[in-house]
Symmetry: C2
Subunit: 80 residues, 2 copies
């Protein structure tokens, strides 16, 4: 079972990495850039299980480790 977790900063949370990327892009002449936000994608390769079990298991992983739920949102995408 493969799954992907998308983790992004909540709206309103300052994103220094995104800001740094935005400044660098402007420095390279990309004036069309208005804003940049950086997030994480975590690809999980798990033993076979039902989709429901996988969803529950991965949610626990996010709550306990993968995401900082104070400042981050996460979404779970089951691949196969």
């Amino acid at each position: 079972m493969k799954a992907r977790v998308h983790i992004s900063l909540k709206n309103g949370v300052l994103d220094p990495q995104g800001k740094a990327i935005s400044n660098s892009l402007h420095g390279l002449g990309f004036e069309s850039v208005l804003d940049v936000r950086q997030g994480k994608t975590i690809e999980l390769d798990l033993t076979d299980m039902s989709k429901e079990t996988a969803e529950t298991e991965i949610d626990k992983m996010c709550q306990q480790l993968l995401a900082n739920t104070v400042i981050e949102n996460y979404s779970i995408e089951l691949i196969d």
Copy 2:
């Protein structure tokens, strides 16, 4: 115009961050985890332009800054 760039390590490239996450998940009792790979998602907010122009512009951004094309793959997703 909003777009998202998905950046992931090429197959075969060692992923120490993924390995660390995998070990931590095992430490928390998540035995179902076989492998973990971590990637980046960069959300871009750009001035209005055609999809073709955006695709070309973002590809240049990836080549010049956003992705290390020696060890990383990237894909561009235009949102609206």
